[in-house]
């Protein structure tokens, strides 16, 4: 892992953050509406406002300055890690995000675990299935999972497992049981993505000659699949980390609303409708930062998990790991040598 590689990836990450910040800043400021007026609105009832007071508050939030000055001011604060104060709630943006984060993290983590398990089970059973009808049905499941509206799924789960059968609380009450239904709801589209990618990788692996070889040497199909093909096929799924994270965050907006959970999604939703500019920007930046981080970790860990990439980097110094990873992603499993074998030879060479 060269330092230069790390530095260039970090620079790229910072560039992404800056672009996210700048874009969201200008988008939000060009939206119709006035955050100060919104803040003063008395419950949305008809009202007029004292122009002097409005002007004073606008000055307090630097909203009276020219746009570019506001931008530079906001950017300057950002460099000092100051994301400003939520206009509506009056709390620092960092505090608002920090208090919403644990709940969303718990939800997303559990959803990912469920999604991985379900995704693997679907993909493996579809690959193993010898009946074309069953295989097609299983292979169609991911498409269905992506197509089902999360909102509807959440309401249906509540209807059956909370209102009719009082198994889980409908409104998050902080008990461990309260997280189950939201996590399942969020896991459905995630598992669909995982199952789809994994199924394709497995199919590619399944027609490779090594399968026949191993099969001939007495491996059962299941053992062969789990021991040899699955670890190889899981790698492309890993590169989906960023996508899965994005999906989980987007899904949390809906899931947290349906299940009345505290979290980033809810925070984002109320911030947008209330035109709480500093808060929206804080959430955008945070999401972008995590996205960058997840992708960075994926790229960095990829060579550790797939030794072929290390070899590739060593032999082709001009090519970066990312390119290799992308090639890998593009061709799914091009050369599905059992990973243990490669790892062994790699180890010997090192």
């Amino acid at each position: 892992m060269s330092l230069r590689f790390l530095a260039s990836r970090l620079a790229q990450g910072l560039l992404v953050l800056w672009i996210a910040f700048t874009l969201s800043f200008f988008l939000l400021y060009w939206l119709p509406g006035d955050p100060v007026i919104t803040m003063l609105g008395a419950g949305g009832e008809l009202q007029s406002f004292d122009p002097a007071e409005v002007a004073r508050l606008r000055a307090e939030f630097h909203l009276d300055q020219p746009l570019i000055v506001q931008y530079l001011f906001a950017f300057g604060s950002l460099l000092r890690f100051d994301l400003g104060t939520s206009i509506q709630a009056g709390t620092p943006v960092t505090e608002a995000i920090a208090s919403a984060l644990p709940s969303t993290l718990a939800l997303a983590a559990l959803a990912l675990v469920i999604a991985l398990l379900v995704g693997i089970i679907i993909a493996v059973s579809a690959t193993l299935s010898r009946r074309p009808l069953l295989r097609d049905a299983l292979a169609a499941l991911p498409g269905l999972g992506v197509a089902l509206p999360t909102f509807w799924v959440g309401l249906m789960l509540l209807q059956f497992f909370s209102f009719r059968l009082p198994l889980f609380p409908a409104v998050s009450d902080g008990t461990p049981a309260a997280i189950v239904l939201p996590a399942v709801t969020l896991a459905i589209p995630l598992s669909a993505i995982i199952a789809q990618v994994l199924f394709r990788s497995l199919q590619n692996a399944w027609v490779q000659p090594f399968v026949t070889t191993f099969h001939a040497s007495g491996y059962t199909r299941l053992r062969l699949l789990l021991r040899q093909a699955l670890p190889v096929a899981l790698l492309p799924t890993l590169t989906m980390g960023g996508v899965l994270f994005g999906q989980a965050l987007a899904g949390s907006v809906v899931v947290e609303n349906v299940f009345s959970r505290q979290g980033l999604g809810r925070l984002a939703q109320t911030a947008v409708t209330g035109q709480d500019i500093p808060l929206v920007q804080g959430i955008v930046l945070f999401a972008a930062a995590v996205f960058v981080l997840v992708n960075l970790i994926t790229d960095l860990s990829y060579p550790l998990l797939d030794p072929r990439l290390r070899a590739a980097r060593r032999t082709r110094r001009t090519s970066t790991v990312t390119e290799a990873a992308h090639q890998e992603r593009g061709s799914d499993v091009a050369n599905p040598v059992p990973s243990s074998a490669t790892a062994g030879s790699e180890g010997a060479r090192a």
Partner: protein, 554 residues
């Protein structure tokens, strides 16, 4: 015999919603008979048992009332913001100098045992009750009153509602611990009712030292029957009973601490989830029942409790700076072109069409439905005479200007689509644009639109002066005139009959010149579980939970 049962046993007032009346409240005439029957039953029983489900009416102590809110109160400080979700909480944690009888509109003692008002309605002296303490143990005295009112003044635009109540406040004097005198520059009759609102509730000195932002997040110490325990953004607001509470309002059904151990307001944005949670007993109260769910709830034997918000009803407000709204003939034609009885068919059964600019629950209300009769032919004639001639598409045109305007709104107001259809038949094209509350409020502040839409809650007709008065908010952007002379008179006397007569005259003038196009009343529709008793509204239709109790069937 407690006050609550007296209210409930009066059939005439039963439908109007007494402080502790607990069954569905409605103004529609078809419930009048039911109300009469219920009223006579109560007279027979005379024990305060007003429950439709026939509970024994003996309040039980204990239990946490679980209330499902639809939105998160971004700020829980009622001195600062006017959201209903905020004020419902503020009412439980703070008390006021006075209380207002939701049935009669009369001002009654609370933290002030008595008061004197000067004949010119400029000086108000309150004599405070002894022994009242804040939740932190400090004494509530005249100094507390003074520092709270000064704090509200200093909040400026951040306390927009409070500001209008204390407009022109010259001095606050505290000759002794139990006496406080307010002096105003000009007559200010509305101030007495204002002292009953939670917007002018009291916090301890420590709370007032906090920044407005800190107070918003829940650092609030009041004198109320409940203490504010925890505010969790987007999740829940938890209240706990104040065991030392011994200064209930003179309107309360019982003395001493509240019956409930506490109240938990959880934020449940999805209507169907609130409804399902109420039906399955996971919450006790759904604060925002959708009209399509009302029948299901009632079929299951759950109660719908409702009370119209007093003040200005949902109405269209023309702004004379707009090209179309400037034309008096157009404004008057709009009032004639709307069939309000038909509007009633698309709103909740518990919601009534407007019969005046003011809602029926406003103390100085007078039925002016004669002035709001449906008269499409009259409307067409007005427009014809004013030179608005039907164009090829049916929309009227005058000097090349089409009779079309765009109304932006954010409220859940499906009846506006019916208004749109009704006005189309008289040749008026009302384009509807639903936007976010932020966008709509900003557009209203800009003041470039011909019409705005909304309501204003206050349990005193002074809201008319505040909103329509040319020297106040002047929402029509009018030049001062006869309306303002009449409205000015209402500030000079506390004689309720005289005030009511003047407000009625002002309302007639407003309607006569088409400065308001009233549509329907805004009514909060609350579903309560079978175990909830005496869930009550105070005069401004916010909750008063001091007498509420849980018991019986789950």
């Amino acid at each position: 015999m407690n006050i609550a049962s007296l209210h409930a046993s009066d059939p005439a007032h039963f439908a109007g919603g007494g402080r502790a009346a607990r069954t569905r409240r409605t103004y529609s005439t078809r419930f009048a008979l039911a109300a009469l029957t219920a009223g006579s039953l109560l007279l027979a029983g005379c024990s305060g048992s007003a429950g439709a489900e026939g509970d024994d009416g003996q309040p039980q102590k204990g239990g946490v009332l679980k209330v499902a809110y639809d939105t998160d109160p971004q700020c829980v400080d009622g001195q600062q913001v006017g959201y209903n979700v905020t004020l419902n909480i503020t009412r439980q944690i703070t008390d006021s100098l006075t209380d207002q009888d939701p049935k009669t509109g009369e001002i009654k003692p609370w933290l002030a045992q008595s008061w004197d008002v000067s004949d010119d309605a400029k000086t108000f002296t309150f004599h405070l009750r002894d022994g009242v303490k804040f939740h932190d143990g400090t004494d509530f005295t005249s100094a507390s009153v003074k520092e709270n009112f000064e704090a509200i003044r200093d909040l400026g635009a951040k306390a927009s509602i409070g500001q209008t109540y204390i407009d022109g406040l010259k001095s606050i004097d505290t000759p002794d611990k139990q006496t406080v005198t307010f002096t105003f520059d000009q007559p200010n009759a509305q101030f007495l009712q204002a002292t009953s609102t939670m917007n002018l509730g009291f916090y301890s000195s420590k709370t007032l030292e906090q920044t407005p932002e800190q107070r918003c997040t829940g650092d609030l110490v009041g004198t109320g029957a409940f203490t504010l325990e925890k505010v969790e953004h987007d999740k829940a607001i938890t209240l706990k009973r104040n065991d030392d509470y011994d200064w209930a309002s003179s309107l309360a059904a019982h003395e001493g601490p509240a019956h409930l151990d506490g109240v938990e307001f959880s934020i449940v944005p999805e209507a169907s989830v609130r409804n399902g949670s109420l039906l399955s007993g996971q919450v006790d109260v759904d604060t925002t029942v959708q009209s399509q769910d009302e029948q299901t709830l009632e079929a299951q034997g759950l109660d719908i409790v409702s009370r119209a918000n007093p003040g200005v009803v949902y109405n269209l407000v023309p702004k004379t700076t707009g090209q179309i709204a400037e034309d008096e003939a157009v404004r008057k034609a709009l009032n004639k072109g709307i069939d309000r009885q038909q509007l009633a068919t698309v709103v909740s059964d518990h919601q009534a069409p407007a019969t005046s600019v003011l809602a029926k629950s406003t103390p100085q209300y007078e039925d002016l439905s004669d002035l709001l009769a449906y008269d499409p032919d009259g409307a067409k004639k007005l427009l014809d005479d004013a030179g608005w001639k039907p164009g090829a598409d049916g929309i009227r045109v005058k000097d090349g200007t089409k009779l079309t305007t765009t109304l932006t709104y954010w409220q859940d107001a499906p009846f506006l689509e019916l208004v749109q259809q009704q006005l189309r038949t008289i040749g008026f094209d009302l384009q509807l644009e639903k936007k976010t509350i932020a966008e709509v409020t900003a557009l209203q502040a800009e003041g470039k639109e011909d019409f705005t839409f909304g309501n204003l809650t206050r349990s005193d007709a002074d809201i008319l002066r505040n909103y329509f008065g040319a020297n106040e908010q002047n929402s029509n952007a009018r030049k001062p005139g006869e309306i303002d002379k009449v409205l000015a008179r209402t500030t000079e006397t506390l004689d309720e009959d005289a005030r009511k007569a003047d407000f009625t005259q002002a309302t007639k003038l407003i309607l006569d010149e088409g400065y308001s196009i009233p549509l329907v009343e805004l009514t909060g529709i609350v579903g309560t579980g079978k175990n909830v008793h005496d869930f009550a509204f105070e005069a401004s239709s916010r909750y008063q939970l001091h007498d509420t109790w849980l018991g019986g069937e789950q």
